[in-house]
């Protein structure tokens, strides 16, 4: 149904350049239905570019990209995207509800405006992330954690089968991150959604995902999270000695279920 054996994302031998410089090279990457994977690596290692390739907004020079068995541009309505918190304008005059409604603009197409049906859907999705009570609040007045939840609601409102999250933990405290990852687990369980999370914090992300890809121009490792935490592997991907802090079930200061 989703291309080869339920594959949601499939990249083969992908090469991407920015202004002549190679940013991604020899990339083989796949994601199965219901899987949560993290793409981890240093700044400038090509993590966000990989998401853009999957979204179909960055052209590749070589290789193939399939999303749900289709070229990315044809699968756009099946993808929900949470850009980095730094990409939106802070003082922009929108309410929480406006932001979530934007998640349906692509699917609505030109000339159509959100109507009552779309508003109800947006309110329902806000309810799923426990933010319905703040629907009429200005978005800029929310905390980082609350904005992140609204961003997730916006990404989910069009009922995507694939969620792409670019550095979702930036500007969010540890407690809010914990509850955010629990939310992802919930949506994976309820909706069978697949998730790709881009992060630079391997220690935080490893305990909550099924697989980790260590990316620094090439994918240096793609497999079980424990394997990604090996010092030699991290050094290979980050290009320097890395000191690791893992928030797992033994962490005394972490808040957990």
């Amino acid at each position: 149904m989703n291309g080869e054996a339920g594959r949601v994302v499939e990249l083969r031998d992908v090469l991407v350049r920015y202004d002549g410089n190679v940013v991604l090279e020899d990339i083989d990457f796949d994601l199965s239905a219901g899987e949560i994977v993290a793409v981890v690596g240093p700044n400038g290692g090509g993590k966000s570019t990989l998401l853009k390739v999957i979204l179909g907004i960055k052209n590749i020079e070589k290789g193939t990209v399939r999303v749900l068995g289709k070229p990315p541009s044809e699968a756009r309505n099946d993808m929900g995207f949470l850009p980095q918190i730094s990409t939106y304008k802070r003082s922009f005059p929108v309410t929480v509800l406006d932001v979530v409604l934007m998640g349906m603009y692509g699917r609505l197409g030109l000339f159509r405006r959100p109507k009552r049906r779309e508003r109800e859907k947006a309110m329902d999705t806000l309810g799923q992330v426990d933010m319905a009570q703040l629907a009429s609040r200005p978005f800029k007045d929310l905390s980082g954690g609350q904005q992140q939840r609204v961003g997730i609601a916006r990404a989910l409102v069009s009922e995507p089968r694939l969620l792409l999250l670019d550095e979702p933990s930036t500007g969010v405290d540890v407690v809010a991150q914990e509850s955010f990852y629990r939310l992802l687990e919930k949506f994976r369980g309820e909706k069978g959604i697949s998730v790709v999370i881009v992060s630079h914090d391997v220690g935080m992300i490893a305990p909550v995902v099924d697989r980790v890809a260590l990316l620094n121009r090439n994918i240096h490792y793609y497999g079980e999270p424990t394997g990604a935490l090996a010092p030699a592997m991290l050094e290979k991907a980050f290009g320097a000695h890395v000191r690791l802090l893992v928030h797992d079930e033994h962490c005394l200061t972490c808040s957990r279920r």
Binding site: P83, K89, R154
Partner: protein, 264 residues
């Protein structure tokens, strides 16, 4: 007041002011939200080149200004996207080039009757019926275009990456916005002139953004601010014998500074 409104040229001035305020308030909304204030200044000043071309060729300068301004606006948008230069440097270059070309061309035309001061600072008291029809027609086109693509422009203004990921053609929207700014500037030139049109492309939207955190209200406040500035400025000009274009810009700026009385 009734004396002022009883005069035919003042009635036309108020009507032209109302039409242009409606268009300027909407464009100002987007100019402020998209951070395009400087591109507005650049496009406005390029109008002089277009006017001069018309004067030299013996064609109605309003039409040459429309074609020239739209072309320059799209060239600035294209060059800043393609070139290695930052957008503000590109605007700075086009701004001075087109204005200088305009002054040279007007000099070459030997048409000493050209009201250069009128083009630079406006002459709303000399609005003709033709000017009114042009402002109404072009204004409707601008409002309709911005209205059709409103939600896409809003989303792109908020978060370009999100707009791209939603399949919204953001490059085309950049060109659409540049063209609409150019058209707005051309119909505003008669009212406030080239120099002040660029100010009115920014001030009503900036005033509104200071007063609200909701885009729907921002649109309304921007419209009220533009209408108040135009009507207030015209009235001040009539009663105190001041330059109308400059009076409109001063009232608009005064409203902006008054908005600081409200704590953000």
């Amino acid at each position: 007041m009734s004396g002022m409104l009883g005069l035919g040229f003042m009635q036309k001035a108020f009507l032209a002011g109302a039409i242009i305020s409606i268009v300027l308030s909407l464009m100002s909304f987007f100019v402020v939200l998209r951070g395009m204030s400087f591109i507005g200044v650049g496009i406005a000043h390029s109008a002089l080149g277009g006017i001069a071309l018309g004067v030299l060729a013996g064609v109605d300068p309003r039409w040459t200004a429309i074609v020239f301004c739209v072309a320059v606006a799209n060239l600035i948008t294209y060059t800043s996207r393609k070139g290695a230069l930052q957008e503000d440097a590109v605007i700075g270059i086009f701004f001075s080039l087109t204005m200088a070309a305009g002054i040279i061309l007007i000099g070459l035309s030997k048409a000493y009757s050209v009201d250069l001061f009128g083009y630079l600072f406006g002459n709303i008291l000399a609005v003709s019926n033709e000017d009114l029809w042009l402002a109404a027609g072009v204004g409707l086109l601008v409002l309709a275009s911005a209205g059709v693509f409103f939600k896409e422009l809003l989303m792109d203004s908020f978060d370009r990456e999100l707009a791209l990921a939603s399949g919204i053609p953001v490059k085309s929207l950049d060109h659409l916005m540049a063209s609409l700014i150019a058209l707005t500037v051309v119909i505003s030139v008669k009212l406030v002139g080239i120099v002040l049109a660029s100010a009115l492309l920014v001030i009503p939207g900036a005033t509104a953004l200071r007063l609200t955190a909701r885009w729907q209200r921002m649109l309304g406040i921007s419209l009220v601010a533009a209408l108040l500035a135009t009507f207030g400025g015209l009235s001040l000009a009539y009663f105190f014998d001041l330059a109308p274009g400059a009076s409109i810009a001063v009232v608009s700026s005064a409203l902006f500074f008054l908005s600081f009385l409200r704590k953000s």
